[in-house]
């Protein structure tokens, strides 16, 4: 069951720089696909193309089962409205969809609670830590109960502990809601941990260099210490080295 298929995507910026060339990949329903690559290999552009925010100069974005009603997008920065409280930030997509205040607030509260932010509904972004801001941002992406979650290096600015914890939470949320995730990262550890499938991009112009499918094993806080994880990491590292 393919949710999203990118076929032969090429993109050239107006300044002539070729960001992507002939990228084809598919995201299956309920799958977490990691896009791994060095900075400047067009990962973010590919994600924006998938979201429909950028029209590719070549190729096509296809939705075999129809474009999902809701897509969630998490940026590299929390990208919150500094003047709005956590609850208002999370409720924003519902507000844009025209939902009544009572309903959107109830759903935003539930989304915040799912990210462990119960009690912080009234907090302003500046009153929260970097990790908490990112949780608000993820809650905002999940509040519409999207079929697809697009994440653009969401944890790149966080410390290792916060990042590991959020990685676990992403897997838990994915398991609980059956949401498909296209996860862009430049972190080997993160991709080896999260991915059901891993696509390695080679830079300038961005193109698919390798694709790894990992065994479906349950992951959790202890998984990083297992030989299974070490094998994944070694495979991912080898693929990334070969690509760059």
């Amino acid at each position: 069951m393919t949710l999203l298929r990118l076929s032969g995507i090429g993109h050239r910026f107006p300044n002539g720089v070729e960001a992507l060339a002939g990228v084809s990949l598919a995201v299956a329903r309920g799958e977490l696909l990691c896009l791994l690559g060095a900075s400047g290999c067009g990962k973010s552009t590919l994600l924006r193309i998938a979201a429909g925010l950028v029209a590719p100069t070549e190729g096509a974005v296809e939705w075999p089962e129809g474009r999902p009603r809701e897509i969630g997008f998490v940026f590299q920065d929390p990208t919150l409205m500094p003047w709005a409280r956590a609850l208002e930030n999370v409720a924003l997509p519902l507000r844009l969809a025209g939902l009544a205040r009572a309903e959107r607030e109830a759903r935003a509260e539930a989304a915040l609670a799912a990210l462990g932010l119960r009690g912080f509904e009234r907090a302003l972004p500046r009153e929260l830590s970097g990790g908490m801001r990112m949780r608000v941002s993820i809650a905002r992406a999940l509040v519409t109960e999207p079929d697809l979650l697009l994440m653009d290096e969401p944890f790149a600015a966080l410390d290792e502990v916060a990042r590991m914890r959020l990685n676990d939470e992403i897997l838990a949320l994915k398991g609980a809601r059956g949401v498909s995730v296209l996860f862009v990262t430049h972190s080997l550890l993160e991709s080896a941990y999260l991915a059901d499938r891993l696509v390695v991009l080679a830079p300038r112009p961005g193109r698919v260099a390798a694709e790894l499918r990992f065994d479906a094993v349950p992951r959790g806080p202890g998984f990083r210490a297992t030989p299974g994880f070490a094998t994944r990491l070694a495979e991912a590292t080898a693929a990334l080295e070969a690509a760059s």
């Binding site: 997008f73 990208t79 409205m81 924003l92 969809a97």
Partner: protein, 253 residues
């Protein structure tokens, strides 16, 4: 606390030195009056000066209000249409760079009512900082947030109201603070050009009048009132700015 008191202490020392120097060198008050003579004039002429102060303030504040209305409205229009911005912005710049003293005589010829002419002059100078800052602010919205609004199918109106106007607020308020001072200057300069007299005169005319009559202390008293009015406007707008931006957690001093 000592830092806050520093300007007060300095001011008192300067006033004392000023008064002492005048007495030591026996400078006559029609050359340079001392703080005491100025204060006496301020008290003696208070009814007259206060009426003029209200007149000048009324024009400055009304001009500021109209500048806010026109500046924000035009900025929002510019934000909706890049074409309109390209077409009109150069003329707003021309309005800004042409000295108000040079335009004021023309406006006084074209407009019969002196207060209305003064209002127009003050409006012209106060308008531009509001317009340019608000345009800048409306375009300063986080590009990722704009993408997010697009992704969720926001309408133009939603994007304006929920994203672009709030993003513009800090810029608008900084412009407002500049415009407040300029509105007062515009009102005073235009009145100097008009040189109008009568019951409805503002402080600038009191300065001219006192100059003709060689009532130099009154001249200084009127000048002090203009300064005080300018400081009051600046401080009041600063207070508005800090209150409105509390959520941003930044105080732009």
């Amino acid at each position: 606390m000592t830092e806050r008191l520093a300007p007060v202490v300095l001011g008192i020392l300067v006033l004392l030195g000023w008064e002492a120097a005048l007495r030591v060198f026996a400078v006559p008050p029609w050359i340079l009056p001392g703080p005491v003579a100025i204060a006496e004039a301020l008290v003696a002429d208070w009814p007259l000066l206060f009426r003029s102060l209200l007149m000048t303030l009324r024009i400055a504040l009304l001009a500021l209000a109209l500048a806010v209305a026109a500046g924000v409205l035009l900025a929002v229009l510019f934000a909706q249409s890049r074409w309109l911005e390209r077409a009109l912005f150069p003329y707003a710049v021309i309005l800004q760079v042409t000295p108000i003293v040079a335009i004021a005589p023309l406006i006084l010829i074209w407009v019969d009512s002196v207060p209305v002419a003064l209002l127009i002059c003050a409006w012209i100078v106060a308008f531009f900082p509001i317009l340019s800052n608000t345009v800048l602010g409306l375009n300063s919205a986080d590009p990722n947030l704009r993408d997010l609004f697009r992704l969720h199918g926001a309408t133009r109106w939603q994007t304006l109201r929920l994203l672009r106007l709030p993003s513009a607020l800090p810029f608008f308020l900084a412009g407002l603070r500049v415009a407040g001072g300029l509105a007062l200057i515009g009102a005073v300069v235009a009145e100097f050009v008009a040189g109008a007299g009568g019951a409805g005169s503002g402080l600038a005319f009191r300065i001219l009048e006192a100059g003709y009559q060689l009532r130099i202390p009154r001249m200084f008293a009127a000048l002090a009132l203009i300064s005080a009015a300018g400081i009051a406007i600046f401080a009041a707008l600063g207070w508005v700015q800090r209150r409105a931006l509390r959520r941003w957690g930044t105080s732009e001093e």
